[in-house]
Symmetry: C2
Subunit: 372 residues, 2 copies
């Protein structure tokens, strides 16, 4: 097992991208050779050293085109730990008061904001004003209004804004998207997304409306929203939603426990999704076409993803999602590469518009029309 894992970890993202997607044509001879990578490297500072930030940092250790270069945190002891663990120089360490000074640091290209949702807007705008590219964890913000402000700020500052959609680079997911695009599934009419787990500690920020902007929907339901869009390959034109709450103590006003939502698409395709913090291990995408079907289960966990279609099981090897994501984001930011599924601010904004509509539909009980 270990040698296989080592092998997978050591495979470079571009080599993998080439072998999985021969049509993309993004790999160069240099990238396919055994010679050390000599192209541009994205130097990233991570803002927010929590559990997901730690996961990204670990994954970046095997990146080829991206490098952990700095940290931003409000906890000096965490900064110390990361400095020694990842050999980060003092001059690349910031706190939330002084990080605007990053503008004068020529050794940082981008800041990856991995903080509670309610802080994203202000922090990304500050990153943009400091002239650094921003990568923001999803959901991009608390609502579409905030998301638009972030996009505007990054445009004005002429920096790129990307959102941490790691599944957009996942090989089995991309293979299904390719099959759908190439007509191998026939006309696609139905998508189902089940996204849920049983949330633990009732005092975490994810259950605090001000910091999270909601409950399960902002955290896990967004995977089904985003998945419906990239699996079907269209933008929804309406949404309906129904909310259910069984625990009013854990899930306070404005913090959703369970929401079922439905999306309608221009072609007549429909999506039926579940977002919940009360049921364990719900992580399944199902796409049904006139000629075939595709299933991902688990569909969005940290991996390995399992996929099968009417033609059989997908066997693409697992590579740590965040490693691939950061290498690919380096290519997008530094080399102007175009990902197969977008990961920019506009992409994040679409999900926020849908979330706004889901909350409205759940509250009013009415179908809400969308124009994305």
């Amino acid at each position: 097992m270990n040698s296989r894992r080592d092998f997978l970890q050591k495979m470079t993202a571009s080599a993998v991208a080439f072998s999985f997607f021969p049509r993309s044509g993004s790999a160069t001879m240099n990238e396919l050779s055994d010679q050390p990578y000599q192209g541009p490297v994205l130097r990233v500072a991570i803002m927010g050293l929590g559990s997901y930030g730690s996961r990204v940092a670990e994954a970046m250790q095997t990146c080829k085109k991206a490098k952990l270069a700095g940290v931003i945190s409000g906890t000096p002891s965490k900064i110390k730990d990361w400095q020694s663990k990842y050999n980060i120089p003092e001059k690349n360490c910031y706190n939330y008061e002084n990080f605007d000074r990053i503008k004068d640091n020529p050794d940082i290209d981008a800041v990856y904001v991995i903080t509670p949702n309610g802080l994203h807007r202000e922090q990304v705008i500050r990153v943009a004003k400091a002239g650094k590219h921003a990568i923001c964890e999803k959901p991009m913000a608390l609502n579409a209004k905030e998301g638009q402000e972030m996009i505007d700020a990054c445009k004005k500052a002429k920096v790129k804004l990307l959102v941490g959609y790691r599944m957009h680079f996942e090989p089995k997911t991309l293979e299904i998207i390719r099959m759908r695009k190439d007509g191998e599934l026939g006309k696609v009419l139905f998508f189902q997304g089940l996204s849920g787990f049983r949330i633990g500690d009732p005092n975490q920020w994810r259950l605090d409306r001000k910091l999270a902007g909601g409950g399960a929907m902002m955290d896990i339901g967004i995977y089904s929203i985003n998945g419906a869009r990239y699996m079907i390959g269209e933008e929804p034109i309406w949404v309906t939603a129904e909310e259910t709450k069984t625990d009013h103590v854990k899930f306070k006003e404005g913090v959703d426990e369970t929401i079922q939502f439905q999306l309608g698409f221009p072609s007549g395709a429909v999506a039926s999704c579940l977002s919940t913090y009360t049921m364990n291990n719900l992580d399944r995408f199902f796409l049904n076409g006139e000629k075939g079907f595709a299933e991902l289960q688990p569909s969005t966990g940290y991996g390995p993803i399992k996929g099968r279609t009417n033609k059989g099981e997908l066997t693409h090897p697992h590579i740590t999602h965040q490693t691939v994501q950061m290498d690919e984001m380096s290519g997008i930011i530094l080399e102007g590469k175009q990902p197969i599924v977008p990961v920019d601010g506009e992409e994040g904004l679409k999900d926020l518009k849908i979330i706004d509509a889901i909350f409205l539909a759940a509250k009013t009980g009415k179908k809400v029309d969308l124009k994305l």
Copy 2:
């Protein structure tokens, strides 16, 4: 293969019921012995000799407690065929004009109405008035008002009214119900039902509003409605629904092509279902509990049903559903047996009330409260 199939076909329904459900205690020593069955036999006339009627007739050939004794049809040539095939005496043959005379026939106990939905109400009421027990194919009628009238007529005539819910006797389905009842799945919070196939001939009665009472919902969607109830084990208290139509020629006004619907239950459990005449091979039930899950796929086809739970695959052998159904219905009618999941008129009426609510919810876009 053949010997196994023969073996399964020859197994008596009661022996099977005994081996699968040792707790039911309904089997007697006599039923378990190798001696020929000597208990009461339900003598059934089938009304409507179409493809499903033919399937039931074939299945009844291996019944122990039920016997095909008569036919009612508007097509003399079909009656002739069935007479010779199943050795049915002339005196047990009727047409739609004269079948009220069945009242004077001591050799018929019950009539199984297998005609287009729009005819059920009148025909079942005539069967009741003739003093015969009525078995009615599902949906029981076009709407709840009609269903109630049928129940009232059968009560007044002191005959039994059963609805053709063959899945209520299906071993894998019943095993999952047992697991849920015994708490092996923990608290159940989510059910998904996908019910659909691509309908062929646009001129069939199932696409005629007057005869069918709708489209996919009356024919195939009802499986997800009924399944949600028996899998969760509660009655829904609200419903929402969204209709999508891509083919307005094939699916005329009042004939539904695709409806997504959601049900809410008193415990906080929710169901998310799809009913469609446009997507092929959708036949999946999924039940998610706090401690485990259960999946049936196919879940309602003529068989074999496939089931798995968190504990592994279900291995109960397949027996033709209609054979088991008719043997069990004989026990219900002649011996007063109580099925694990009801199959009476009240059960059919509940589904009709839900269908009425789904159509209303789809039309108005509003959540509809239910009291079943």
